[in-house]
């Protein structure tokens, strides 16, 4: 694991990516958890951790996707049970992360990353302009959820077209609406362990 200083040096913030730019992160179905406090399903903090190789978590830039004439929904192609989280660049900077473009991977990898340091340390957001193949549609499941974490205490989720700051909280999936999160079971989240 790199130090916060090294991380900031290696993945320096790019101020040309404006605070209003929406960063999109796919959320796998296994990362939705039931939050009794909020009364809804939302992404686990695990959905926003470093990649397995220690690089920052990756996200898509909605502005680049749109500049290329595409729809942000394309990132959901082939991921029918995945959710989509939208974070404003300004929001992640407020959480002591940097937004770092990843040009070398833009034409190679369909996903990229934002990587966070350990709790309380600076985080880095790596972005790419790479967009997946033309997508069918967003499943909708992950479009109105919340994430809560040490640094990412609240992640704004919503449709990519929502103006930044329009909502920093979202709305709602009731218990039972996301039951199929487990690879082999279809059960709710409560009960005896």
């Amino acid at each position: 694991m790199v130090s916060p200083e090294e991380c900031r040096e290696r993945f320096a913030d790019d101020p040309t990516i404006f605070d209003t730019v929406e960063l999109l992160r796919r959320i796998p179905p296994w990362h939705f958890v039931w939050d009794e406090n909020e009364g809804l399903h939302r992404p686990s903090s695990s959905a926003f951790e470093h990649d397995r190789d220690g690089d920052p978590m990756s996200v898509y830039r909605s502005d680049v996707i749109e500049e290329e004439g595409d729809d942000p929904k394309r990132v959901m192609k082939g991921h029918s049970r995945f959710g989509l989280v939208s974070l404003a660049s300004g929001f992640v900077r407020k959480k002591r992360q940097t937004v770092n473009p990843d040009p070398l991977r833009r034409r190679v990898f369909p996903c990229e990353g934002v990587r966070s340091q350990d709790k309380g340390n600076p985080q880095v957001v790596r972005t790419t302009v790479r967009v997946g193949d033309p997508a069918s549609s967003v499943t909708g499941r992950g479009r109105h959820l919340i994430a809560r974490r040490r640094q990412l205490s609240r992640v704004r989720l919503g449709a990519p077209s929502d103006p930044p700051g329009a909502r920093d909280y979202w709305g709602s999936f009731g218990r039972g609406e996301l039951p199929d999160w487990s690879p082999a079971r279809r059960q709710g989240a409560s009960g005896a362990p």
Binding site: E36, N37, A184, R185, Q187, A192
Partner: protein, 114 residues
């Protein structure tokens, strides 16, 4: 039992389950989480089942978000288990390795299981 089954089921996830390059969930992480749950259930008969989620590095994270509490306990192969808890009302929070913290963790779990 449900949470234990969910932890066990994570073993079925193949590498790349997050659409990128996530590790398979390790047996060590699954075993660690199950052992923790079994031990906690003995001490807290009313223990509420957690959400059980995989991590990209092949770990397992147990999560409770109820009774005004947020609590996470992470298990990964080759890395000491760690935990995090926060009381939403008071803002009180704790974050530490699991080792040597059993009593403290159980106190938080009791609060989360009310």
């Amino acid at each position: 039992m449900e949470a234990i089954c969910r932890a066990r089921d994570l073993a079925a996830l193949s590498r790349g389950w997050n659409s990128c390059d996530a590790h398979r969930v390790s047996d060590q992480a699954i075993t660690g989480s199950i052992q923790f749950l079994l031990g906690a259930a003995l001490d807290i008969p009313t223990l509420v089942a957690p959400s059980v989620v995989p991590t990209v590095r092949g770990g397992v994270q147990l999560e409770w978000h109820r009774a005004g509490m947020d609590m996470e306990i992470g298990f990964e192969a080759g890395i000491p288990a760690s935990w995090y808890a926060e009381d939403r009302e008071t803002g009180e929070s704790r974050e530490a390795l699991v080792a040597g913290q059993r009593d403290r963790i159980l106190r938080w779990l009791r609060r989360a299981s009310r």
